[in-house]
Symmetry: C2
Subunit: 336 residues, 2 copies
């Protein structure tokens, strides 16, 4: 293994100064086409590539974006990760990923590492991130955008779906379908998504004078949702509809209803989820849900982040996107 070639090596071979080599690899720098050609030839011969770390040190930009994400078992996140990677790459940025342990705070460690590596920005896609931690980043001059969550802090950018309205629409849909005994197996109530969906759903019911027949905080854990389904739906006075905090929970609940309790969906129990992950469209589930427009969430996230990185004036922004109801086969058709 030979040592990697440096700009000085190339300069020597090309018979030019090291500055000339650097300029050749700096878009917009002034080099004559003759010099450029000599440099390029020597560079090719030595398989030279500029050291991005050294460059970052000088220009004060790493073009690295830190991504903190968890719950890869929830298909929403792998899908979003792929979109995010592509969107950022188009803009010339790359992703340093950190998998947060589920529901646990992304430990301070992760943030330290992100800061150490001089990331230009951070996308927080993990459920719980204390205000304190995000503020540390902003204090260090690193813009943060909360993805699929928000916090009451005007300094923190965030991009979310209108979870409140989406959940309310599901409540309306249940009621229109004739349901009156309605349960909510909620997402984690310490996460804004979990909370907003619960709030919106309750409000939708309240508009028709209804209250929840059953409420469980599953913490977004399918195993907890299954346990709850066994308890709640084996009672004679069981609910006839259940809204789950996300699609992944809904799949788990449907499995219990159908394969453990022998109930039919939607005839015995209607089920709805949230996210509209690809699996929801699979005929085995064919789930009624509220869609999160992952592509648009990602686009807004990248727009905000890049703006804050590249334009000194850009301030934090919070975006709320539409979250349309997607009616499929797990709920009764609404008469009329």
């Amino acid at each position: 293994m030979t040592r990697k070639a440096t700009s000085s090596d190339v300069a020597k071979l090309a018979g030019v100064s090291q500055s000339a080599v650097s300029r050749t690899f700096t878009p917009g720098a002034s080099v004559s086409s003759k010099t450029r050609a000599k440099v390029l030839k020597a560079a090719a011969a030595l398989a030279y590539r500029p050291n991005a770390l050294a460059r970052s040190l000088i220009v004060g930009r790493s073009r690295l974006i830190g991504l903190i994400v968890a719950h890869l078992d929830n298909q929403f996140y792998p899908v979003a990760l792929e979109m995010l990677s592509n969107a950022l790459r188009t803009r010339g940025y790359h992703i340093l990923v950190f998998l947060a342990t589920s529901n646990g705070d992304p430990v301070d460690d992760v943030l330290d590492t992100l800061i150490d590596y001089q990331v230009d920005g951070i996308v927080m896609g993990s459920a719980s991130i204390s205000t304190r931690l995000a503020q540390r980043c902003e204090a260090a001059g690193i813009p943060v955008v909360l993805f699929n969550r928000y916090q009451d802090d005007a300094k923190l950018s965030s991009v979310v779906s209108d979870n409140h309205a989406g959940a309310r629409a599901i409540a309306e849909h249940f009621v229109a379908g004739g349901h009156r005994r309605i349960a909510h197996f909620a997402g984690w109530q310490n996460a804004s998504t979990g909370r907003d969906r619960a709030l919106g759903f309750r409000e939708g019911l309240a508009r028709h004078g209804l209250e929840l027949a059953s409420f469980v905080d599953t913490e977004f854990r399918p195993s907890v949702a299954k346990e709850a389904a066994r308890a709640v739906f084996s009672r004679p006075d069981r609910p006839d509809a259940v809204f789950c905090g996300n699609d992944t929970l809904a799949f788990a609940v449907m499995d219990v209803l159908r394969y453990e309790l022998g109930l039919r969906v939607p005839e015995d129990v209607a089920v709805a989820g949230y996210d509209d992950v690809p699996i929801s469209a699979w005929p085995a589930y064919n789930l009624t849900t509220a869609r999160q427009q992952a592509d648009r969430l990602v686009k807004e996230t990248v727009d905000i982040l890049v703006a804050r990185i590249e334009h000194a004036g850009a301030g934090p922004r919070s975006v709320v996107l539409d979250s349309p109801l997607v009616v499929r086969g797990t709920t009764r058709p609404v008469p009329g």
Copy 2:
């Protein structure tokens, strides 16, 4: 936004030399506890953190691992990604992720970027990677390990399941269940996994004097598998068993069999997949499959990579792991 504090800032505040600050943050360096205390106090006051980029430049190690991955819609990869991230973090490495476009070669671009950022090693989890590209990395002194694929090049490390044996076991299982008209909806035949599974499956049948009733190269694309299922299983002389190149394909095929063609699984058609992703254990599919031991694949990958990075003597290694048959409900029980 204030400029980030540097070691010189800390030195000034602490009344020591810049070297002393550096030593305080270098494990194993010799600093008196007095000096260390002064430095730590000043560092805390300034929220100082060593610049990992500058450090990398000097020590010649970035502690960055490049990961090229695709097919995040195949649950095997998100699961593996999570494990890989954890395993590498434990060893003090971090992941720079690149999503390769499905089945397309990871463009040279990606590799260039990886080299630019001075990654210490690369995990190739994307199906197609030309020998040429991998060799470029090795030539640049960056160890590569192929994850879930291999190539006939002793210089390239690889970690795979014994796909040949796993697929053969499925063939044996089908035959033992009394099947004779057997199809294979194969994974991409340009990928070693796709090829080995097809080869092993054919060999398993051949041992009993059987040949494939139908063979389709789906390129690991569920849409292609569905199309094929519609064509192959609507014929009167349809096969009574099908082995799919991975679990994700099997789900797609089962959906067509059950919900479009009205066939029962396994009574009318037995189905098997490969990978044993979490969804396979969901009762809606309850899929017979060959398990890839993701945790062990990841562990071996990290072991090889870290060894090559940290020990000059360590050469490339190829590991093949056991891939046990997991019999569930999509195949007929074997009599006796």
